[in-house]
Amino acid sequence: MAQETPATIKISGAEAIIHCLLAEGVDLLYGYPGGAIMPVYDELYKFQDQLTHVLTRHEQGATHSAQGYARATGRVGVAMATSGPGATNLVTGLADAQIDSTPMVCITGQVPRHLLGSDAFQETDIIGISTPVTKWNHQITKAAEIPEVMAKAFYIAKSGRPGPVLVDITKNAQFEEFEFSYTPCKRVRSYNPTPKPDMKAIEAAAELINNAKKPYIVWGQGIILGKAEEQLKALVEKAGIPAAWTILGASALATDHPLNVGMVGMHGNYGPNILTNECDVLVAIGMRFDDRVTGSLDTYAKQAKVIHFEIDPAEVNKNVKADIAVLGDSKHTLELLLPLIDENKHEAWHQVFKEKYQIEFDAVIEKDIHPTKEGLTMGEVIEEINLASKNNAVIVTDVGQHQMIACRYAKFSESKSNITSGGLGTMGFALPAAIGAKMGMMEREVVAIIGDGGYQMTIQELGVIFQHQVPVKIVVLNNDHLGMVRQWQELFFDRRYASTVMVNPDFVKIAEGYHIEAKRVSERKDLKTAVETMMASDKPYFLEVKVEKEDNVFPMIPSGASVSDIRLK
């Protein structure tokens, strides 16, 4: 929790920033120095016993590491950069955090106040540039503004629906001395982070659920962000409702829970997609009906009454019309709902999910995780990781085929165990995000699963893993292609593989160049031992698995098609 520092002392703006970070409980941040942020770095040097700064190899890496840290811990991730190119390199991470509701505070240096607008060296309008991809941003030009703005930044980043905040601080404000005191922010008068739940809506929701014959829950990251995992489990069990998850909701309920029926969406499970159009009441909790979840909206759950539990009023009726909208924090609203819910089993309905699962198992799953063909599949690698980690690793994925396969087959027993770039689909996310996740939760095993394409977008962050000896496990599933785009080219562009064939370097040698223990596997007989060796290591470890070059991910809902038209092949 944020600390109050009542005594006033005269310090520089740069030192004040450090005190603000410490007061907010920050002990780790990621960043990259440069001219306009140097006064703050000078203070970081003085405070290095209290605040660890990790030098990433690119500012984008700093944002993704801060995101990984935030997603794994539930705390605010912090990234810092200089003005100009340092600041613009944060934009992808900001956009990713914005669309995936990740609490993050980015601090950028800026040219001195008197040079603003003069096209000074490394001047860029980062406030203008970052506006559409931040929950809030603010430029500080006087040291005296620092405590209030920093307090507000942390409060806004973590409250309500979380998101990224950028604070841009001119260099003169970093040098200027002022009387410092810190008061944590508790409210902003124009900002209502968590709407008050309406008991009438909750009663109406309970009535619909109690009378439903084929109720179906789809939950999203709102459960994890709202710390409502227990309440979700209680609801699912009491009402006996089959429950599926969006990609960002994964791990909120254990994979082996009997009522956890799997993933919805483009490459989600067969039953959860197809039965969306057969349920009579769809209970959506903390999810936003993304197009990758719904497919064509014209044919999405039209037969069902829709109940939408949501913290952000702007999400209600945005894509799918809700018959009942329950606004508020998911933990709070589910707690209010639970006593009104009748116990039920819905066994026949649950049986339908089991039947659909069997169809998918026979057509897809068995071949993915226990293949008999020669080439290695991504699915069997994930299955080996499940076995070696006893279903208890934090899985950090990049974007593409490996991501879909990992989310389909990774097994989770704890919440916050699936960290991926869901909304923005940012290739290059996984390696730096895994660093942040591991540094935030040293007690847990963190495995980054990355494709050969995305890996090379932020491969330089191996430098951080080496320098700080961050014991993450890196698995590159190498098919020598940009696999997902290649899959679409195969299915929808007559196999014209435009710019999706990759001639890759020797990834093992690159890892070894960073003094990271590394191994390559290309045959099934070596896979199990290789994964077990990696998981048994207490150091950073790199494993490249050469997988089948032209495998496809199924099931698949083609872009713009209905969830009912999901393809098994």
Binding site: I127, R187, R189, E315
Partner: protein, 176 residues
């Protein structure tokens, strides 16, 4: 869903950058802002944006939700034309000799309930307040005589129903 005219009213803090943040919401959706006015409101230190757009109700609902979500926005509403009282202002700059040479101009000024705000040696300026179509009509009437300069303000509007912004601000203050 059919496109129609909507007036979006936004009550907000008066902060640097908020205009950019709000206009970005329209930009992201490729929706053109027809007119925009920013001024103080009935509440001290609270600004009011009045934005006119031609779009569908689905989109205006979406946009207002996104606007209201911005930290420094207190409340945003949308209304159709018949739910508001609205006006625009226009200035016409016309060569002074026409005022004497073309008798018809004086009739146009009278019939349109407009005023001459200044007369100089070379030009005079007519001010007209009214609805968009009234100003458009006057523009059409004056056009044949030659208009040196023309400008029209954004729409300003008040709603027929009550706007409980003060009550809302108090409610936010009580929230922890």
């Amino acid at each position: 869903m059919e496109k129609q005219w909507f007036t979006i009213s936004v009550y907000s803090e008066n902060n640097v950058g908020l205009l950019n943040r709000i206009s970005g919401i329209f930009l992201k959706r490729h929706i053109n802002i027809e007119s925009l006015n920013v001024s103080k409101s009935e509440i001290d230190e609270v600004s009011k944006f009045t934005i006119v757009v031609n779009t569908t109700e689905k989109w205006v609902h979406n946009i207002v939700g996104q606007i209201e979500k911005q930290i420094e926005v207190i409340k945003a509403f949308y209304h159709t034309d018949d739910e508001t009282i609205y006006q625009e202002s226009a200035l016409f700059k016309i060569a002074s000799n026409l005022l004497f040479d073309e008798r018809q101009i004086q009739n146009i000024i009278k019939e349109n309930n407009s005023q001459i705000v200044t007369v100089a040696r070379d030009f005079f300026v007519i001010a007209k307040t009214g609805r968009r179509h009234e100003i458009d009509e006057m523009h059409e009437e004056l056009k044949p005589f030659g208009i040196m300069q023309f400008v029209r303000s954004g729409r300003i509007s008040v709603t027929k129903d009550i706007m409980q912004i003060t009550a809302l601000l108090n409610e936010f203050q009580e929230h922890e």
